[in-house]
């Protein structure tokens, strides 16, 4: 079973570009990435796109398919109405390199600003004990495949361009995975508030909606971090206590 589909794929770079139409044969079970590969092989050998695992594990092939942020490798062609034109364009939040490829290097610079994991001392028996229920909590955050679709839809980044002031949902998840790590002893709350800009998030949950790993970004990562920041920096009792205890703000 195969049928002819009409694809509109963005072609271009920083100097300009636009949608180009392709008629492609789509076979049973194909995903959008397969169709893009077929266009490369048969019609446009220089069509740029990123991909690696083709199984939703590496987060390379992010794009906007019919306007929705998706992993191309996990978007089946048979989810579209037969005869429907399918548009594929690069994610918008990051600068375009060429065709479907954007410059996501900003994300890697943000990651570098996050202080690394710092383990607490080992138990006397030379081990770190951690129960599965403790692991479960952070394992959710550690499922992140860095597709950056959450960064793409975050309006703080996408519409307001606050890349200088806000780390974006991906790195709130990363921070949560460290802050809630049962063995971690570092303190990143000041960073989360002042450099990470957690206050910019007004919990519209767009990031959660597009996460291909179903991480509850807003509910399980961002809101608990917001609560920790509020407890530390805005709770009057805590502040009073700190003044009397003689400790400055950490």
């Amino acid at each position: 079973m195969s049928n002819n589909v009409h694809m509109r794929v963005f072609r271009g770079d920083q100097t300009g570009g636009g949608f180009k139409d392709y008629q492609v044969q789509a076979d049973e079970g194909m995903v959008v990435l397969d169709v893009i590969h077929r266009i490369q092989a048969e019609q446009a050998p220089d069509l740029s796109c990123r991909w690696n695992c083709k199984a939703g594990k590496c987060g390379s092939c992010s794009a906007e398919v019919n306007g929705k942020p998706k992993l191309m490798c996990m978007t089946r062609m048979d989810t579209f109405t037969p005869g429907q034109t399918i548009t594929v364009e690069p994610i918008k939040t990051f600068p375009l390199i060429k065709d479907l490829v954007t410059d996501v290097s900003w994300n890697f610079q943000v990651n570098k600003k996050i202080p690394p994991f710092k383990p607490r001392p080992k138990n006397p028996d030379g081990t770190w004990r951690m129960m599965q229920y403790e692991a479960d909590r952070v394992q959710e955050f550690r499922k992140c495949i860095e597709c950056f679709l959450c960064q793409d839809v975050c309006h703080v980044l996408r519409n307001h361009g606050k890349h200088e002031d806000f780390f974006g949902p991906r790195f709130m998840v990363r921070l949560a995975s460290l802050e809630m790590h049962p063995l971690d002893a570092a303190d990143r709350l000041k960073l989360i508030k002042e450099i990470g800009g957690i206050g910019f998030c007004n919990i519209t949950k767009c990031c959660t909606e597009v996460c291909p790993e179903d991480i509850h970004i807003t509910d399980n990562a961002i809101i608990p971090l917001k609560e920790r920041v509020a407890d530390r920096f805005y709770d009057p009792l805590t502040r009073l206590f700190r003044i009397f205890a003689g400790g400055g703000q950490k």
Binding site: D13, D27, E28, G29, M30, V31, D34, Q40, A41, E42, P45, D46, L47, S48, C49, R50, W51, N52, C53, K54, A55, G56, K57, C58, G59, S60, M74, R76, I97, K98, D99, V101, D103, V104, S105, F108, N111, K112, P116, F117, P119, T127, W128, R129, M130, M131, Q132, A135, V138, Q139, R142, K143, I145, E146, L178, H181, L183, D184
Partner: protein, 602 residues
Amino acid sequence: MANYKIHETDVLVIGAGGAGLRAAIESAALGMKTAMVMKSLLGKAHTVMAEGGAAAAMANADPRDSWKVHFRDTMKGGKMLNNYRMAELHAKEAPDRINELEEWGAVFDRTPDGLIMQRNFGGHTYPRLAHVGDRTGLEMIRVLQDKAVHMPMDIFMECTVTHLFKNGDAIVGALAYTRDTGEFHLFQAKSVVLATGGGGKAFTVTSNSWEYTGDGQSLAWQAGADLLDMEFVQFHPTGMVWPLSIRGALVTEGVRGEGGILTNNKGERFMFNYIPDAFKNDVAATDTEANQWVREVITGKQATVRRPPELLTRDVVARAIVNEVREGRGSSHGGVFLDIATQRTADEIKRKLPSMYHQFIKLANVDITKEPMEIGPTAHYMMGGVLVHPETQMSTVKGLFAAGEVGAGLHGANRLGGNSLSDLVVFGKRAGAGAADYVKQTKPSAKVSEHDVDAAIAENLSTFDHKSGENPYALHKELQEMMNTYVGIMRKEEDLKKALVELDAFEKRSANLSVVGTRVYNPGWHLAMDLRNMLITSRAITMAALERKESRGGHARSDYQGYDPNYAKVNLAIKNANRQMVVEQIPRSPLPDELKNLVEEA
């Protein structure tokens, strides 16, 4: 003189999967100026796809385990062709490397008393794989990535190495290009660590991504280094077979480790019919015994009976599946059935195998908690690669090192599942240290001849000048089909000879590939360069396969079935004799007594 940027470094690490990251971390920690280049973005390398776990005899899940048992399992799994020193070092050092990952922040699944949990896998006597559900590779690469970015090193993403350079008999640098601009970069490097993985993209049905084009094997051979064990290609028994577009995608061995069974179209659990004599004593004889084993291990008990036959080594299971299909007992799409639905509850399946559940429901409309999966063999891993020194990982060329899949020796004729992730960290660290030590001891220069660089750049750009040449995608497809047909899971002399003739023709045609567009992020141009490496690596596989006239591990010959004791005494090396590829038998040195006793104790 062509236009390029120049970088100077002590250690250049090529590849940023588990082995490359671990090597770069070690090299930087030892004070070396370190640069790491990678074909993709950081964190996207093949390691991220590894599912089942990392094998390390930590004895958390079964106190009977030890490095000695791990060593024996590795040697037996490799059909005794492994480099025994590497197998010994690996078994001894893997637990430290896994604990180190925990120290750097990895969150592995836990035992009931809070230690790192370990799961069963094919060929491992005891539950030995430290894991995180079925996304262990993601956890490892993220931990190593976050460790590396906080160390002093230069990271070049989407930067592909196309040539290595020598001065006399030592390595002195490499040429690379970055995809976003198409610019060339010359790395003047005192040492180079190859961590480029395998070359499964030379086959049609493969679990490997576009990156796996045999770059390291090819670059090393071109630089004059010897390759080893190239005939041994692991066909993973369980790849997806349907829909066609996803054919080859990996289904983790963890499914069988968690109790999954293999059946044919008659509903028979066929693996009982394929137990090799050497493993008769280790494997359950009946359904009842196998099921009891699963019940015991999933409830956290020590197994008192023998393991299910589905957990035989990958080479055995893959060939059994091929035989079932050939004799008409396969599924409608040419595979067999892998069933976990009847063995475990839906909740357990979703918790222990979340990404498999996700992958099948999304890509194949199959709910693995209710129905069996349709699976068949897929080209997955190269046991062979660059011949390295077991302690330092240095190749036969001075200053050139290799670690991970691109290195050879640890796995012999067949790799055990779980031994690759531990391989990456054990020998990644050793390669980083080996390179650092080489730089400190020999104080090599890194003078690259300008003429060599110009010639390399001209070669890379030549495809833009061919206006009516061949399409690289079309040539790649033909190569894949040829390799799958003639050098696949079942081989014979006639086919292998045909393959060599075909490779000659491909090589001629590859000189006339034609590329359109600019140098900026051009996948057609990239593929044209990758094809050089795929052709060299394919030839090495084919020549070694022709030379080994027996069936052993990942190399099966229909015209020479079974082991030949004469071939147990040799490994095959692929050498570069004045740019001609030649194959040579290397006699194996006998195991020292203490290791020999370990293997025979079984």
